[in-house]
Amino acid sequence: MLEKLILNHYEAAAVILSGIGLTNLLLQRNLIKKIIGLNIMDTAVYLFLAAKGYVAGRAAPILIEGEKAGEWITNSAVYANPVPAGLVLTGIVVSVSVTAFALALTLKLYESYGTLNIDEALMKMTLQQEELEAKIEAQEEELIS
């Protein structure tokens, strides 16, 4: 198994990276670090895909001009796999959009609670609610009396 892992070392590195990213995403309490974890995970996927596009000894998938002008080498044994490149491009754009959106939400959270920790925000919210409820109860009691 180790031999095969060494053979597929790019994929193995990608998998370990995605593990690091996933751990960050799940375990960090700080939202910015969570988002960084997410980006690491996405990068790992790009590495995996790039490794999948590589074929030993083949060139990048951009047509090369043949010996005569206007003639193109279209032998499929010359070029590497173009599909993963397209998938990586899509992945990058998606990850940029998602990161920007997540950061905007984080900024909103920070504006409301002054913290980047989701649990602390929950605490502040509950405390606020408890205070509010206490106030309402006091008001109602006043009304009744």
Binding site: M1, K4, L5, L7, N8, H9, Y10, E11, A12, V15, I16, S18, G19, L22, T23, L26, L27, A51, Y54, V55, A56, A60, P61, I62, L63, E65, G70, W72, T74, N75, S76, A77, V78, Y79, N81, P82, V83, P84, A85, G86, L89, T90, I92, V93, V94, V96, S97, V98, A100, F101, A104, L105, L107, K108, E111, D119, E120, M123, T126, L127
Partner: protein, 333 residues
């Protein structure tokens, strides 16, 4: 002499740290004496006390709501999940087809067709461009829509609401601009501001901005001939805008690129994309002859719809990335 050196040093320090320019007649207090051991300033004490109480409250609250157990359980489960997932994936990777082998299942007849007939069928020299903008164009359309979704969402979260708050306060309190600024909230969020009158930055920017712009346009326009395309070229163009904003101030960019232009260009470009691709999908699915010429491979005017689509995508990406930057640092485009 000594004072002058101090002043230069200070302004250099400010520039490095990113503080704004100091008022000219600023009184500089003497440096505070270094901390001696076993002395603690009252303020420091107070802040620590404050911190402790907050932390205590947090702990109390966590205990009351039984969250300590929960968060311990959560961390345990997460660690376990991650370990399981990584080890499973490693075992998987060991069994995958070997790296770089041309007999892998991924190198099949689909790839052969893309390479052998891609040039003729799409007219693009760059096979990847032909792949993403012609063979699998629906995916790429979705991808531009993702960017559009994120742009409107971020605009909704950061742009509209803050200006709205400011407007409300203005309506309530008249034109008390100082107070308005204090209550706006964002100052605490705005992490740093650049000096806007920096000669070095301006000089470098005026030299490099045309080059960057040019580079971006080249990458966009040659998308079907060479590596690059709308997404990477748009990203380069947006860096030129960001550089301009930093060197000359956001107001300068604002004069030709504001929220309205941003929305109009993004929507219009995406609309052109949707309509032209919709035409090509429609004709393709119903086997109608499409009037779009493919051109000869290698010419700048080739590749059918790929060139205009790349320009549209470039506009969207440039606008959106600059928009993100402006929204995050200034709160408006």
């Amino acid at each position: 002499m000594n004072e002058e050196i101090k002043a230069i040093w200070r302004s250099f320090y400010d520039w490095v740290v990113g503080n704004g320019p100091r008022p000219e007649n600023e009184v500089i207090p003497d440096e505070p004496p270094p901390d001696l051991p076993f002395t603690r300033k009252p303020k420091d004490k107070f802040s620590r006390f404050h911190e402790a109480t907050l932390k205590e409250r947090y702990n109390q609250w966590m205990e009351i709501h039984g969250l300590h157990m929960f968060s311990a359980l959560y961390s345990g489960i997460s660690v376990l999940t991650c370990i399981v997932i990584v080890s499973l994936l490693l075992a998987t990777v060991a069994e995958l087809p070997p790296f770089g082998d041309e007999r892998n299942p991924a190198n099949n007849e689909v790839i052969r067709r893309y390479v052998e007939r891609g040039g003729k069928e799409t007219g693009a020299q760059n096979i990847v461009a032909g792949l993403i903008l012609d063979y699998r164009a629906f995916d790429t359309f979705g991808e531009s829509a993702v960017l559009f979704t994120a742009a409107v969402s971020v605009l909704m979260l950061l742009g509209a609401s803050r200006r709205n708050n400011a407007d409300d306060e203005q309506a309530m309190k008249g034109n008390d601009s100082g107070k308005n600024f204090m209550q706006r909230g964002p100052p605490s969020v705005r992490l740093h501001t650049f000096r806007r009158d920096d000669a070095i930055l301006r000089g470098v920017a005026s030299l490099s901005m045309p080059v960057i712009m040019m580079m971006g346009c080249v990458v966009v326009i040659n998308g079907h001939l060479s590596p690059g395309g709308g997404f990477s070229g748009g990203a380069i163009l947006s860096t030129a805008l960001i550089l301009c904003a930093n060197a000359y101030g956001f107001e300068r960019v604002h004069s030709f690129f504001n929220e309205r232009t941003f929305i109009t260009t993004s929507s219009t470009a995406l609309m052109i994309y949707a309509l032209s691709k919709g035409y090509s999908f429609f004709t393709g699915a119903n086997d109608i002859h499409s009037v779009i010429p493919k051109g000869t491979i290698g010419n700048i005017l080739s590749g059918g719809l790929i060139l205009p689509l790349n320009i549209c995508v470039g506009l969207i990406v440039a606008g959106t990335l600059y928009g993100f930057y402006a929204l995050f640092s200034e709160g408006e485009i």
